[in-house]
């Protein structure tokens, strides 16, 4: 009888974690505000510190989605994807909030 209760509690805890789990993951805005990630001139995100694995995972995920979007735009406008990437990088850096990181010629700098 006690085992059943323990089992139920464990299930409940796991269930709760599954529900609130996504909320615990790092959001893009949060990562930027915390200085973990920054915009690069090539239109993609970069992790400011190589040791931050969660930030790196976020960066990889978003970059993959961005790459798809850029390729779509390039195809639609019959232009080179690199041109789209460069333009996106320009705009992204422009839109970066002051205090967040952007990639400069010498490395990461705060805008």
């Amino acid at each position: 009888m006690a085992m059943k209760r323990v089992g139920l509690v464990v299930l409940a805890v796991i269930g709760c974690l599954i529900i609130i789990g996504p909320a615990l993951a790092l959001s893009l805005d949060e990562a930027k505000a915390k200085g973990l990630i920054g915009e690069r001139a090539n239109g993609y995100l970069g992790a400011v510190s190589p040791s931050q694995t969660e930030a790196q995972a976020l960066v990889d995920d978003v970059n993959q989605k961005r790459r798809q979007a850029y390729e779509e735009i390039a195809k639609r406008n019959r232009t080179n994807v690199h041109a789209v990437e460069a333009l996106a990088g320009e705009k992204a850096i422009q839109n970066t909030k002051p205090g967040n990181f952007i990639e400069g010629p010498g490395g990461w700098v705060k805008k």
């Binding site: 893009l28 978003v62 989605k65 961005r66 979007a69 735009i73 390039a74 639609r76 406008n77 019959r78 232009t79 080179n80 041109a83 789209v84 333009l87 996106a88 705009k91 992204a92 839109n95």
Partner: protein, 73 residues
Amino acid sequence: MMRLIMNGIVRRCPGILLLGGLTMMLGACTPRVEVAAPDKPITINLNVKIDHEIRLKVDKDLEQVLSDNSGLF
């Protein structure tokens, strides 16, 4: 011999001498036409890899992706 000739010309036709003198002086003042290359080298910007119209369209498309809704920026 030369002196005789010269004296003869000077005495007889001073006007011609004056004209001759003036022409020679003016001849020395020919204007100089210089064809020189400019000091600064002529630079041609070859960074234009994308047609202007296409750039505008791409810009518009990117504006959508960059907006908050996409979750990518």
